[in-house]
Amino acid sequence: MPYRFLPDDFEQRYRSVWVDVPHHLHDPEKTRGLYHEFLDELEFAETQGFDGLCVNEHHNNAYGLMPSPNLMAAALTRRTSQAAIVVLGNSLAAYNPPLRVAEEFAMLDLLSDGRLVAGFPVGTSMDMNFAYGINPATLRDRYYEAHDLVMQAWTRPEVFSFNGKYTQIRYANIWPQPLQKPHPPVWIPGGGSVETWEWTAKLDYVYCYLSYFGYKRGKATMDGFWEASARVGADDNPFRAGFLQLVCVSETDAEAEREYFPHVHYFYQKCLNVWEGFAEAPGYRTVKTVQSGTRAQVGAAARRVRQSLDWGQYLDQGYVIAGSPATVRQQLTECIKTLRVGHLMVLLQIGSMPKELALKNTELFAKEVMPHVRDLWPGYKDRWWPSGARNGSA
C-alpha cells in the first residue's frame, strides 16, 4: 500500500523512504482516499475469484501505509465472504503483551467465519529496530517467546501462567478464542534468515518468502527452506511454501511496458530507497545468516543493483513478471515449479499504480492467468488453508 504521491526527485533529495522519511511529504487528504482504493481493490479481487487477500504491517514509511493490518483485515471481513484473509502478519515482538495478537487474530477469525491466516513475521529491521526501537540483539529471542505465548493462549484449555523473559502473565486467558481449531493456520513471512527455515518446518508452518526481487533471485532462499525442511524430516508438500511475486498483465508485452513501467520504476527507485544505516541494525541478522552470504534486500548494495534498471532488466532478472497473458502464464508456471510454491502471492498494485490499472491487472490475471496456474500440484493436500475459506486449490 504505497503512498503514490512522492515527488519526482524524491530519491535524490531524501536519503530514505523508511524510518526518517519526513512526513511533510505526506498529504492526509490524499491518503484518506487511498485506504478506500486499497480496500476496493482487495474486495474486487475476491469477486474475480482470488482465493485469498493479503495485508501486512510496516511502520514509518511511504512504501506501505499499513501500520495496522488488522484494521484493514477487519474492514475486509465485512465486505467479503469467501476469500481467506491472509494477515502477513503481526510482528509479534512489537506487541506488549503479545497476547494482543492472540486476541485480535481470534477476533478476526470470528469476524471472518474462520477465514483467517495468522502470519507471524519477525518484521524488517527498519520496522522493528528503528521505528519501534526494539533491541536487535534480542529481537529474535523476544519473537520466539511471543510466539510461544500466543500459541499457548490459543491451545491450552486452562488459565495458565507464563513466566517469560520478556513477558510475564500471571493469568493468561484470552477471550475470545479463535474459531478454527486447534488454531488458524500459521504462515511465517521470512526475508531469508537461515534460522527461520528450520524453525518453521519443525513447527509445521508455511514459510513465505516475501521477496522484492522476484523468483530468479528468490530461488536460493526457497531452496534453503526446502533443504532445511528435509533436514528436519518434513515432507516436500509444496503447500508448505509461499512466495510473493510482482506481476503485471496486459493485452500484449508492449502494452504491459507502456502501462506498467512508470509504476514499477516508482516502486523500485522510490519505495525501496532505504538509507544504508537503516537497512539492518547490528544483530538483526544472526551471524549464521551473515555468514551464509544472504544479503539485505535494501540498503546501499541493493540500491546499486537497482539503480538505472530499465523495463527489460526488471523482466530479465525476474523482479517483475509482466506482459501478455501468455507470457505471464509461462513465466509464472516456471516460478511456481522451480520454487515449489503451493501458495503464490501476487502483488498486483505496485508503486504509483492508480486504482483503475490495479483493477485491470487484477481482472486480467484472474481471467487469463489464474486458471492456468491454479492446479499445478495435483495430489498434494493443502493443510494450511483456513477452514472457513473457499479453496480453489483443493
Binding site: G277, P282, V287, V290
Partner: protein, 261 residues
C-alpha cells in the same frame, strides 16, 4: 608485549580476554566497542605509571558469553565479578565512550571499586537537543569522520582499512556486526539506561576528558556530566572522539597528572 589471558566467571558462562602490562597502582581500562584492537599506544603510555588491565567486552573477539548477559546491569555485575577474579578490590577506572559509560556504572553501583574515575567522552546520558551520533549504524564512510578528527590520518586510515581477501573481509564484517550488536544489547536505541539516577552514588574523584572537536559525542554532554557528578573536573584535549588514539601522549599525560595530583 602485554600479558594476554582469559578469565572466567560464572563457571565459564562468561569469559573475558584481559590484556595487562605495567607496574604500579592497578588501573582498569574499559574499551569503546569501536576500538578495533585490544591494546594500543595509549595503554602502553599508561602502563609506564600503572598496572593496566584492559578486558575486552563480551562480544569482542577473545571474550565470550554475550548471549548470556541480559542487560546493562548484568554486564555491570559481570565486571564486578571480573574485578574480583583479578583480585582487584579497588582500581583506577578509565573508560572511553561505551567504556566510559561502563566505568561510570561500576563506580556508581560499586563505589568502593573506584579509586578514581576517568571518563573519556563517555556515553550514558541523553539530550534530545544534542543527540550523540548514531555510531551503531553509521555506514563506514560516515562513521570515520564522526569518530576521527582527521579521517585521513595514519591511525584513522589504519582503523578503517579492511583486509583484502573476501574471506577475511567477511570475517571482518562479522566481527564488526558482533561488536556493534553487543553494544546494541546494552545501549539500543538510546544510550541512556538510567545512569543519571545513579551518578550521585559515585564517590571517587572524577576526570572528564573530551576532544574539543568531538563530532560523535558533542561537548554539551561534558556539562551534563559535570552537573551530575559532584566535583568532576573537565579537561579538553584538542581533537575528536578518538582523541586518545590520535594524540595518545596528551590523553595519557592528563590521566597521569589527574591521578597523581
Amino acid at each position: 608485549m602485554p600479558d594476554d589471558r582469559t578469565v572466567e566467571i560464572r563457571g565459564g558462562a562468561v569469559t573475558f580476554r584481559v590484556l595487562a602490562a605495567g607496574r604500579g597502582a592497578p588501573l582498569v581500562y574499559f574499551h569503546s566497542y569501536h576500538e578495533r584492537s585490544a591494546w594500543s599506544p595509549f595503554l602502553d603510555l599508561l602502563a609506564r605509571s600503572f598496572s593496566v588491565y584492559a578486558p575486552s567486552h563480551p562480544g569482542v573477539p577473545g571474550s565470550t558469553g554475550i548471549e548470556t548477559l541480559d542487560d546493562l546491569l548484568d554486564l555491570t555485575l559481570a565486571y564486578d565479578e571480573l574485578l574480583q577474579a583479578l583480585g582487584l578490590e579497588r582500581a583506577h577506572l578509565v573508560g572511553h565512550a561505551f567504556g566510559g559509560m561502563m566505568a561510570a556504572e561500576i563506580a556508581a553501583v560499586f563505589p568502593a571499586r573506584a579509586g578514581s574515575l576517568t571518563l573519556i567522552s563517555p556515553l550514558g546520558l541523553w539530550r534530545d537537543d544534542a543527540p550523540s551520533a548514531d555510531v551503531l549504524i553509521l555506514p563506514s564512510d560516515e562513521l570515520a569522520p564522526a569518530l576521527w578528527h582527521d579521517p585521513a590520518s595514519g591511525v584513522a586510515r589504519q582503523w578503517a582499512t579492511l583486509p583484502g581477501s573476501d574471506q577475511e573481509s567477511l570475517a571482518a564484517e562479522v566481527e564488526s556486526i558482533q561488536r556493534r550488536s553487543s553494544m546494541a544489547k546494552f545501549a539500543w536505541p538510546i544510550p541512556d539506561k538510567g545512569l543519571k539516577k545513579r551518578l550521585h552514588r559515585i564517590g571517587a574523584s572524577t576526570l572528564l576528558l573530551w576532544g574539543d572537536a568531538d563530532r560523535a559525542n558533542p561537548l554539551v554532554y561534558a556539562d551534563e556530566w559535570q552537573r551530575r557528578v559532584k566535583g568532576a573536573a573537565l579537561r579538553l584535549l584538542p581533537g575528536g572522539h578518538m582523541g586518545l588514539h590520535e594524540r595518545p601522549e596528551s590523553a595519557a599525560r592528563a590521566i597521569v597528572e589527574f591521578i597523581g595530583a
